[in-house]
């Protein structure tokens, strides 16, 4: 190009004398223009030439020079076309062959395919040696013609500021959830990140990476699907290598070089990692390829090292350059930029399809994603609804902007965006996530390590498969969390939060267990409308109304969003002012609209409207598990789970929804772990002692806090039970042991503790010291079965101090006879009267202080009902008197019952 300009310059310098006869002004202006032009100061010359041309038009030399200027400035090359055409018309013979070539290229850029082809042919006649090159151009033109004919009906936009600026933005990489974009400003060594929120890209932030100044070449090379890892190309003109680093809240403290399978002594650029982390794709110009840059793949070996690089082969790699690979989460598709293959001009975006274990086909993604200009660095979000790339299409050859296309594809994938936090208060933690494919019982190779600074992780799964996630966080037990993926045909997004926290009894200074809480939030609204709601519609009248209601909902959604939109401008300013993450700022919800909608629905008693609203609300499903440590067995073994080659020890966390499914599996006797669950678990969690003063049964205040805390612990954990054992020196007072135990039981009951969960015992040991007998011992158990299910008030105290009640009496014998475990010890021989006050089909939790003060409560089951009696009387009169008292106290239905030999008689 340069050589050609100089030739032209000399030719026209000779002609310039013809123009000299004009006025002095013209002469001066002409002189200035030519000086600038000859010095190749095209930017300076262009306005002068244009001015000259506007005054003294018709001079084809000037026109030609204008054309040359346009050709050689960065912008608006195609503006040169009319000027060069004019010059060519005026004197075709004076034109050097390069002019034909240039014009052909310009026509090409301007989509004037036929004219371009004609011009290329003219060029070839002048330069027969260029035949091969011209043929290639003609082939490109042919491709362009076909693609232009098959234009895609899609919406493309320049994403504008703040991403696109006067600088050139290149290598845009979006995270799989499209929440952020990393890119580079061309000719600068700066990388940026921008955030997407409410359909708008927000203020970019410069990515802070130290020590880049040591390298001559610094290029952005890609990100991991979650955006937690960034890739950079560093080096000099001879050799560039690929590096990776953790992206920690917009800084990357350390870059590590990929191993020598990936890096050679030639150039490596651009990286893309498959979402399961097992395969890495990169571009390299190392020898042994098919020409220029080729795309290679590396797989993670069993030691988690990147293995040998394999060239993707001649289907993907042409003799020209293949750059910027992007592997889509659906795994069957690889996107890349190439100036080979069937490009319609410059670099185009291509799509390669993988099936039957090999790369089968490469396709141009088509016009208008591709143009006759350069398109580079294409990445698609996981759901396949939008793609981004960098292009010079605005007729500005060297100026790149980031563009976005809205795709109609709906890829049936499930995206799980999660966060692992641990501790109290919860903070991000070092953790590992492994994934098991439940169908094949294999462990997926990749270990998803949540970003330790943020706790964030991202998993992408194909539909119709069940996975188990094994979460191992430092200092906690490993847990298995099921990920149930419906066989959906739509994109499915799931936000998952895992919070691990220790369970502590502060007053004992003991950590007795841990809790895992998993919250899933589903964004599944489309499917609900399409699948569940319509199919569950009650009647046709509802159906008719349904359309109308959906419109209502849509209106609602639009309203919400418009509001978000008007807020967007304000939010942007705020971000600019404070530098905050836009992710942190949520636009306020329009509660007025929702409140009004519900009011209207109630006013018109429109139950369908309420139902639709309900079904369209976001569903949070939380399930949690508390795991208690066994004090008797410090190194307890966790349940095992067998998968193909590995055994995993972990605690299974099941959601309610899955329990049913799990039960089926037990029937099939396939899983060891599930049958494990049926075993009775009974373990001691913690124990403590309450000391009493000599001969006293009052709890000293120092124990109040401890007892309250234990009561609260039991109230929050249905599987926990408490045993209270009172001690006394038998010789002093055999009742003291009972009184002490009762006192503690009552204190616990005052803290709202359900008395079903208490078992009280009395004990004494005359052999041991006095002090060791002035106490109450408390043991907390965990059991998966109600330990004392049928003994309602396990206030089972025998007055005989030599006797300790068995904890686990046979619950089944209760039928039609008095349970042997209540207060007052009813044995099979005893006969008495009592006052029945209530009956019920379930065992009742009685926390009324009234009951706690009663001396004898008898519960027995009779005719399928649990019946509750108060008092024990030798004769009917005494019982009857007590009945009247009770009736006055509010038990209007109280009546006297008789027991003979421990059995109720009618």
């Amino acid at each position: 190009m340069r050589k050609f300009i100089i030739i032209i310059g000399i030719i026209f310098l000779g002609l310039s004398s013809l123009l000299a006869q004009n006025s002095k002004d013209q002469k001066t202006l002409y002189k200035t223009t030519q000086e600038a032009f000859n010095k190749e100061q095209f930017g300076l010359a262009l306005p002068l030439l244009l001015k000259y041309d506007s005054i003294y038009h018709g001079d084809y030399v000037i026109k030609y020079q204008i054309g040359v200027c346009y050709l050689n400035t960065e912008f608006e090359r195609t503006k040169a076309i009319p000027y060069i055409e004019f010059a060519m018309k005026s004197d075709r013979t004076a034109m050097p062959s390069e002019v034909y070539k240039d014009l052909a290229e310009l026509y090409h850029l301007d989509y004037r395919i036929e004219e371009s082809a004609k011009m290329y042919r003219s060029y070839q006649r002048l330069e027969p040696s260029e035949k091969k090159w011209v043929e290639k151009q003609l082939f490109t033109l042919e491709t362009a013609k076909i693609l232009l004919n098959d234009s895609l009906n899609i919406q493309i936009e320049n994403i504008g500021p703040p991403v696109n600026t006067e600088c050139s933005e290149i290598s845009p990489y979006i995270s799989a959830d499209e929440s952020m974009m990393y890119y580079q400003e061309k000719d600068s060594r700066s990388f940026f990140v921008a955030y997407y929120k409410n359909d708008k890209w927000y203020q970019k932030t410069k990515l802070d990476i130290p020590n880049l100044n040591n390298y001559k070449v610094v290029r952005f090379a890609g990100i991991s699907p979650s955006g937690d890892q960034i890739f950079v190309q560093l080096g000099d003109s001879v050799n560039t290598d690929l590096y990776y680093g953790d992206n920690l809240l917009k800084t990357c403290n350390q870059l590590d070089r990929f191993n020598d399978h990936i890096n050679s002594k030639y150039h490596e650029s651009s990286v893309s990692i498959s979402p399961d982390g097992s395969t890495l794709y990169f571009s390299s110009d190392r020898p042994g390829g098919f020409g220029g840059y080729d795309i290679y793949a590396c797989r993670l070996d069993s030691n988690e090292h990147w293995g040998k690089a394999e060239n993707l082969g001649p289907v993907v790699n042409s003799e020209a350059d293949e750059l910027q690979p992007f592997i889509h989460p659906s795994l069957g598709k690889l996107y890349f930029s190439s100036n080979g293959h069937k490009t319609m001009g410059g670099f185009d975006i291509f799509e390669a399809f993988f099936y039957n274990n090999q790369w089968q086909e490469v396709k141009n993604v088509g016009y208008p994603i591709n143009t006759t200009f350069d398109e580079k660095g294409y990445s698609i979000n996981a759901k396949g609804s939008a793609a981004y790339w960098s292009s010079s299409r605005n007729d500005q050859t060297l100026h790149y902007d980031v563009y976005k296309v809205f795709l109609k594809e709906n890829i049936p994938l499930t995206l799980v965006k999660g966060k692992v936090l641990a501790g109290d208060p919860p903070k991000p933690i070092e953790a590992q996530i492994q994934v098991i494919d439940k169908a094949t019982h294999t462990l997926l190779k990749y270990v998803y390590n949540p970003n330790p600074k943020t706790g964030n992780y991202l998993l992408i799964f194909p539909p119709g498969k069940d996975y188990d996630m094994v979460v191992r966080a430092e200092g906690y037990k490993p847990y298995i969390i099921n990920i149930y993926l419906p066989n959906q045909t739509y994109f499915y997004e799931n936000f998952q939060e895992i919070i691990l926290s220790p369970i502590r009894v502060n007053s004992l200074g003991a950590t007795i267990g841990e809790e895992i809480k998993v919250t899933n939030t589903f964004y599944d609204i489309y499917s609900q409308q399409k699948d569940s709601t319509i199919s569950t519609s009650v009647d046709s009248a509802t159906d008719k109304k349904y359309d109308q209601l959906l419109q209502l909902i849509e209106k609602l959604i639009i309203t919400t969003d418009t509001l978000g939109l008007s807020k967007a401008a304000y939010v942007t300013e705020e971000i600019e002012a404070t530098g905050n993450d836009p992710q942190m700022l949520e636009p306020e919800k329009d509660y007025d609209y929702l409140f009004g909608l519900i009011e209207e629905a109630i006013e018109t008693t429109d139950s369908t409207a309420l139902r639709v609203l309900d079904e369209n609300s976001i569903n949070h499903i939380t399930y949690q598990l508390r795991y208690f440590y066994d004090i008797d067995q410090m190194n307890e073994q966790l349940p095992e789970r067998y998968i193909l080659n590995d055994t995993i020890f972990a605690i299974n966390l099941l959601s309610d929804q899955l329990k049913q499914k799990q039960a089926l599996i037990i029937e099939n006797e396939n899983h060891k772990i599930e049958s494990e669950k049926l075993k009775l678990i009974k373990k001691r969690i913690t124990e403590c002692t309450i000391q009493f003063e000599k001969d006293k049964a009052e709890i000293t205040p120092q124990y109040y806090e401890r007892l309250s805390e234990l009561a609260q612990l039991l109230n929050h954990n249905p599987n926990l039970y408490i045993r209270v054992t009172g001690f006394a020196q038998s010789k002093e007072d055999p009742n003291l042991a009972i009184s002490r135990a009762t006192e503690v039981r009552q204190y616990l009951a005052d803290q709202n503790l359900d008395l079903h969960k208490t078992v009280t015992e009395a004990n004494y040991n005359s052999a041991s010291s006095l002090k060791s007998n002035q106490k109450v011992e408390i043991v907390i158990f965990e059991s998966n079965k109600a330990l004392y299910a049928d003994g309602v008030f396990n206030m089972a105290v025998k007055l005989n101090p030599n006797y300790t009640i068995e904890n686990n009496s046979n619950p089944k014998q209760a039928s039609n006879s008095v349970n042997s475990n209540e207060f007052g010890s009813v044995d099979a021989q005893s006969s008495f009267y009592s006052v029945q006050i209530a009956a019920g089909s379930n065992l009742l939790g009685i926390k009324d202080p009234f009951f706690r003060k009663q001396k004898a409560i008898i519960v027995y089951s009779h005719n399928g009902l649990y019946k509750y009696c108060l008092g024990r009387f030798a004769n009917h009169e005494a019982a009857s008197q007590y009945k009247n008292e009770l009736r006055k106290k509010g038990f209007g239905d109280a009546f006297v019952v008789q027991f003979i030999n421990g059995k109720r008689v009618e």
Partner: protein, 184 residues
Amino acid sequence: MNRHKLTYGLLVFLGLLMYKAQAQQYTEYDLKAAYIYNFSKFIKWPDHSFPQDTSSFQITILGDSPITEVLHKAMKGRKVGSRDIHIRVVHKVEQIGSPHILFVSKNMQKIIPNIVKQCGNKPILIVGDVLDGFCQSGGVINFTPKSSKFRFEINNEAAQHFNLKISSKLLALSRIVTSDEIKF
């Protein structure tokens, strides 16, 4: 900016489906907050529950619940009639006092009878957050699990006991529950 507004305008029309997946959505608790607010419109409290003309409308939340945050946000600047809304969170039954609405959070399942007892016959609308047997135990309104036929259930007998008049419109939209015969 103008160009962007235009683009967004286009987006709203073209990308509706996409919007459904991405747009800001109301959550379960947003809806519950909206119901609670509307309860105040469709339920009549006795006059003596407002000692003064300027007495505020009291909502008390018992226990930890996501509704707390939502209510604070959603009720901001709102009034029941001419009355300000006052929201309070308590953790113990004894602290309930005499609010107009008592929201009983999920983790209070175990102590429902205590709560009902604590309310005595004060004009308190006791609302349960998807609690088992809540209305059967004397609670007034209980939210039902998602995708139930009715959004909530009402024990109108209990409401009468508490001197609350529930609009027939609200009753028409709910499952009617009566107290169990077994009652202590």
